[in-house]
Amino acid sequence: MKKKAITFKFLALAILFLLMVTGCGSNDEASIDDVSTIVLGVPTALGSIEGADSLKAVELAVEEINNAGGVSVDGEKRPLEVVSIDTREHEPGLPVHDALAALEKMIVEKKPDAIVVGSFRSEVLLSAMDLIAKYKIPYICTIAMTPDFQKKVSESADYKYMFRMGLNSPYLVNYLSDTMAFINQKFDFNKVYIVTQDVLWAKGTGTGLEKWFQANGWDVVGFDSYPTGASDFSSTLGNARAGNAQVIVPIFDMPQSGILLKQARAMQVPALMAGFISPAASDSAWQTFEGEVEGLVNLVFEIGPIPLQAVPKSVEFNANYGKKYGEETLAKLSGHGPGPAYDSIYVLADAIERAGTLESEALVTALEGTDMDGVIGKIKFTNDHQVIYGLDPKETAIGAVFQWKTPGVRVPVFPEVAAEGEIELPPYIK
């Protein structure tokens, strides 16, 4: 028994030292600065779907650019290199400092020339801004959606290194309210129930929508927000049924929101679901939910994960992604993140070539002047460093509203330029 205990102790100490040594080893490796490559950092929640898919999209773009010879800096062709670190932000109990420590580790050890994808949670993005201001590295974020980001950028020149290519909450409100106007026109619906996840971006979107509904003569039957991880939605659905809501607007990015979808069908709530439910955004959702997503009107925040005939590059992106990672992975592609993450690499490459240097001040100026066609449509930044989203892919970037229809296809229904079908009421409402 005693002997066993001693072996245990030795084992423990051995493992500890081993890890210390390997840890230090990787340290030294990183400090060798390879001048020939351009290093792009991806610090995000790699354990989340959005984060993992964005990284894949980034790698796809990098591979394409490297196969074409790389990016020319001052006449010299240099390949791109991706380094990633997991910030674990999607785990609800994780303190902000831990995510920031990961970001700082990457910056100090890998010395990236630019950072893409970036923070997952809004509050991490906001507090990471001070860190980026300190290290002065161009940073294009594509996941976190808080509008406070732009407020900070416009308030102080310290934050000029930060750009955002993903959709933000006000634009999301615009898309949803436009869709609602469309539904109102078509079916004469005007009783709505809003239900959101209790997180910054979703709640903000819900509040924005509520204002719009009230201003436009809709009757808001109720507005509920559920804590992340909630797994029973009967109170909302019961209230919605009792209040005769015709449309339910769900805004969720947690896996449990799948329960909401299934429960609404089980409780036979005769209302059209139109909003954002992340588990039902990818192509494989029909199969996962065994067809129970039928009729759901859902949103792809930025096009890319859904091929639109009106934007040829998005079709091309889907084909290439499928080729590199397989059709099955393509079918699971997340509705938020991959499109702009892919484009951000091209935007950066373009800016580097125009600036002719990797020096951040020049790069920021070049990024500000970006004007190119990408997977998400036309890419242009506003003065507060946010890509403009609108309704026409020839003028702005766009998101797409689609409806699930039998036999399991996502039919784009809005914006009208890109629509390939019409919103229909599912059989269980008629």
């Binding site: 797994s231 009792a242 449990q256 429960q263 089980a266």
Partner: protein, 290 residues
């Protein structure tokens, strides 16, 4: 409205019973706070899913195999992890929590984070009761949950093994002197608790999608209701679940869902302040406060 609250309050309460019963049983029978409960719950979900999709077993068979396998795993956890530190409560908690987190994070590492993992419903469809529609799966939850509670109550109060196990929890030395072996009893209680976690997973998870973070929530819920009802009492567990289940639905319907969590945490704090051993716990009244 009131019908919805009544019926879904019941569903919520029984769901709570199911998620917590494994944890409560283990604690009641051997005094082990099994903090790997959430990990085992999610493990069961993924294991059933893997059996169905990688090996192609039918759901029923996969479900039964999962319950057995997770039960055995529970026993093994006791033998390998808890036995060496048995008696040091803090180490027990930390060790089992580490096991649970290791399981959950292992799945995260293997990429089990997409929205494709779900178990099939037993029977699809729903019926209307008093104007409220409810699906068959939730009816199953109510049925199986209540049945399990009754069976377990019978098992712990009227069978030899059950009584032996409870004797162990109440006074270890006296039980030892009567020929009940401590480690055997504890292994059995861990195995039973783990198997019950698996049963809960297989009945509840078809309602939605399996996600890793649920593992942590399940552990917190299990802790909450067992504290509320009394750490070692089956009746207390059921009372606690009904209070919390209805409290959640009522506050969710009339106050707004963001208050649901506040209400139940506040209930726990209140109960602990007034009656620390829980609503129905009584075996440790002398030890709980001065």
């Amino acid at each position: 409205m009131i019908e919805t609250v009544l019926i879904y309050g019941l569903v919520n309460s029984v769901t709570l019973i199911l998620t917590a019963i494994g944890f409560s049983l283990t604690f009641g029978l051997s005094g082990i706070a099994n903090f790997s409960h959430g990990g085992l719950y999610i493990l069961s979900g993924y294991s059933a899913w893997m059996m169905m999709h990688y090996i192609g077993l039918p759901f029923a068979l996969a479900a039964v195999l999962t319950v057995i396998q997770v039960g055995i795993l529970g026993g093994l956890i006791y033998r390998a992890v808890i036995m060496p530190v048995r008696g040091i409560v803090l180490s027990e908690v930390v060790a089992t929590f580490a096991v649970g987190v290791a399981i959950l994070e292992f799945f995260r590492w293997r990429g089990f984070v997409t929205y494709d993992f779900n178990l099939p419903l037993f029977i699809k469809g729903s019926i209307g009761i008093a104007g409220v529609f409810i699906d068959y799966q939730r009816l199953f939850i109510i049925g199986i949950g209540l049945m399990l509670a009754v069976i377990l109550w019978f098992f712990t109060h009227h069978t030899r093994i059950g009584l032996a196990l409870r004797g162990m929890a109440q006074d270890e030395y006296t039980a030892l002197s009567l020929g009940i072996e401590s480690d055997w009893a504890a292994t059995l209680s861990m195995a039973l608790g783990a198997a019950l976690a698996a049963v809960a997973a297989i009945i509840i998870l078809p309602l939605g999608i399996i996600s890793i973070n649920m593992g942590y929530d399940v552990l917190l819920l299990a802790l909450a209701v067992t504290i509320l009802g009394g750490l070692e009492s089956t009746n207390g567990l059921i009372v606690g679940c009904f209070i919390l289940g209805y409290a959640r639905v009522i506050t969710g319907t009339y106050l707004g869902p963001e208050w649901m969590e506040v209400i139940y945490l506040a209930a726990i704090v209140l109960v602990l302040v007034v009656k620390p051993s829980g609503l129905c716990g009584k075996s440790k009244e002398l030890e709980e406060r001065v």
